[in-house]
């Protein structure tokens, strides 16, 4: 799960990234990738890159390319001097417990599940 710390020197930039990624929708579930819990990490390494580490709800999902394109589209105008990288990982595998309360509400999942 994505965790941001106020102690992080890139906290403000990471908050801007999170806000922007709320606009990227998983077309399969119609919920943004942040509320789905698909984004595992946001990193600003020293070499001028912005690395998004994330997973997909289904391995080898054909809609993965659309999500990756969406990430580039929302982040490139915000960070024009950075090289955006999307790093897809399968560990830990995604499951419903990684969704935020808002994501669960949008999917119509009952809270006691």
């Amino acid at each position: 799960m994505l965790e941001l710390s106020i102690q992080d020197p890139h906290f403000n930039e990471k908050m801007r990234v999170v806000e922007a990624l709320h606009q990227v929708i998983d077309p399969e579930l119609f919920v943004n990738i942040i509320d789905l819990g698909l984004v595992y990490d946001i990193a600003f390494p020293a070499d001028n890159r912005l690395v998004i580490t994330m997973t997909l709800s289904t391995p080898h999902c054909p809609l993965g390319e659309a999500i990756e394109a969406g990430i580039h589209h929302v982040l490139e105008p915000l960070f024009p001097d950075k090289t955006i990288e999307v790093n897809i990982v399968w560990e830990p595998p995604w499951d419903f417990s990684m969704m935020t309360a808002e994501g669960r509400r949008q999917l119509g999942i009952e809270e006691d599940e």
Partner: protein, 431 residues
């Protein structure tokens, strides 16, 4: 890096023609059914009935199942499709072959049209097997869904081989009676090709759509073994001794395999987190109810034959297989087209959702007309009242129009871009 890890969807030409072809043949079933209704009270192997059955099995069901498989294989096997061109080649063979075979059956021309049609369908099935095995061969994981997909493709080739051999017997009778071959051909097609493909695909897709999971993989593995052992036993026994008492044992083994598979799906259904069911999923649930009814009707079919053979066939083809396809089409096709049209625009501006690519009202009417059509057709055939069955066939035609309308709407969906974005991208990659 992501390029290495995200699956590439197959080319659209590898998948979309199958959906268009299947919609065409569904419409053909709707148009011809009213003509065939008066014959439903006679012998089931009459030319028009055999033509109609092949419209359902080859033109409609196999067509859409092949196309959907080409799209889903990469998701299920986590590997890119072996060859999109081979998929297109298999479509051309299947479509032309189905047209030739069905017209040959309708007017009962047992010469070259029947053999050429059967031959082309056989080539399509071999191309399909190569594509499935080629994709599966590059996949390191040996999960049960892969086994189902590969075994279904093998049974498909055997089904078309038996069908071609049966067609050959019409022209040059040499060996077993055609009626015996027809029964083996039909059962291998239903319990081998349809059942195993549906088992493999549904065990992956239905939990995915319901957001449900089952940890009882053992049920699926047992289902795979039982369905295959039962069918192999049936094949050997029916070929050597003909259909008799031992067939019951083979049927019982296959049915126990179906029960294991349904138990797996029920477990995933019970543990789903998304409680409300949409129309597409209701269609799918209805499909499995029809499969259960078909299984329960087997003893009655054996006892009374003619009339119940028609009911048995209707439960399987118009009930189980059709209901599943009618629902799952709108779970898969809008995503395929949406992905092709909008994937590069995601995040750039507000784009339509995949479910906005089809008309919800047409889907609702499709579901209603489908349910009414089947009730009327079953009642008409069982009660020997042709007018009721005829009314059912008209409802089926209406249902087919709703389906075709939505499929055309999705296939010909044009990219919707706001004016201000259009101004920015004029002359670039706008389609």
């Amino acid at each position: 890096m992501a390029d290495l890890q995200i699956g590439k969807a197959p080319e659209n030409y590898a998948v979309l023609p199958f959906y268009a072809g299947a919609a065409f043949f569904l419409l053909c079933t709707g148009i011809t059914l009213p003509w065939v209704v008066p014959e439903l009270h006679g012998y089931y192997a009459m030319p028009h009935i055999v033509a109609l059955v092949h419209m359902f099995t080859v033109g409609w069901a196999s067509m859409v199942m092949m196309g959907a498989t080409y799209q889903l294989l990469p998701v299920i096997l986590e590997q890119d499709l072996f060859s999109s061109r081979l998929s297109l080649f298999s479509f051309c063979c299947l479509f032309i072959g189905a047209l030739l075979l069905i017209t040959a059956f309708w007017w009962f021309h047992t010469g070259w049209p029947m053999l050429t049609g059967g031959g082309l369908i056989w080539i399509a099935s071999v191309a399909y097997l190569i594509n499935v095995a080629g994709t599966g061969g590059r996949c390191d994981q040996h999960h049960v869904q892969k086994c189902f997909m590969v075994s279904a493709a093998c049974w498909f080739v055997l089904t078309t081989s038996l069908g071609l051999w049966t067609a050959f017997q019409f022209v040059h009778p040499t060996g077993k009676p055609v009626s015996d071959l027809l029964k083996i051909h039909a059962h291998v097609g239903v319990a081998g090709w349809f059942l195993q493909l549906i088992s493999g695909v549904s065990s992956k897709l239905i939990p995915m759509f319901l957001l449900g999971k089952s940890k009882k993989e053992g049920l699926l593995r047992s289902a795979f073994v039982l369905q295959n052992v039962g069918l192999l036993f049936f094949l050997v026994q029916a070929y050597i001794q003909g259909i008799g008492m031992l067939t019951w044992l083979a049927a019982a083994i296959v049915v126990s395999g179906i029960i294991f598979q349904m138990a797996y799906l029920y477990d995933a259904f019970r543990h789903r987190v998304r409680k409300p069911l949409d129309l597409q999923m209701k269609h799918s649930l209805l499909a499995f109810a029809f499969l259960l009814l078909a299984i329960l009707s087997i003893p009655v079919v054996y006892r009374f034959d003619h009339q119940w053979s028609i009911i048995y066939g209707m439960l399987l083809l118009m009930g189980w297989v059709s209901s599943l396809i009618l629902g799952q089409t709108f779970k898969t096709l809008p995503f395929i087209v949406w992905n092709a049209r909008y994937k590069q625009w995601n995040g750039k501006f507000k784009i339509p959702l995949p479910r906005q690519l089809y008309a919800e009202w047409a889907l609702q009417w499709q579901f209603r007309l489908y349910a009414i059509a089947l009730w009327l057709l079953f009642a008409g055939v069982l009660l020997h009242i042709p007018m009721i069955a005829f009314a059912g066939s008209l409802c089926w035609l209406g249902m087919a129009f709703c389906y075709v309308w939505n499929v055309i709407k999705i296939l010909f969906h044009r990219l919707q871009i706001p004016e201000h974005v259009r101004a920015v991208y004029t002359g670039s990659t706008l389609q």
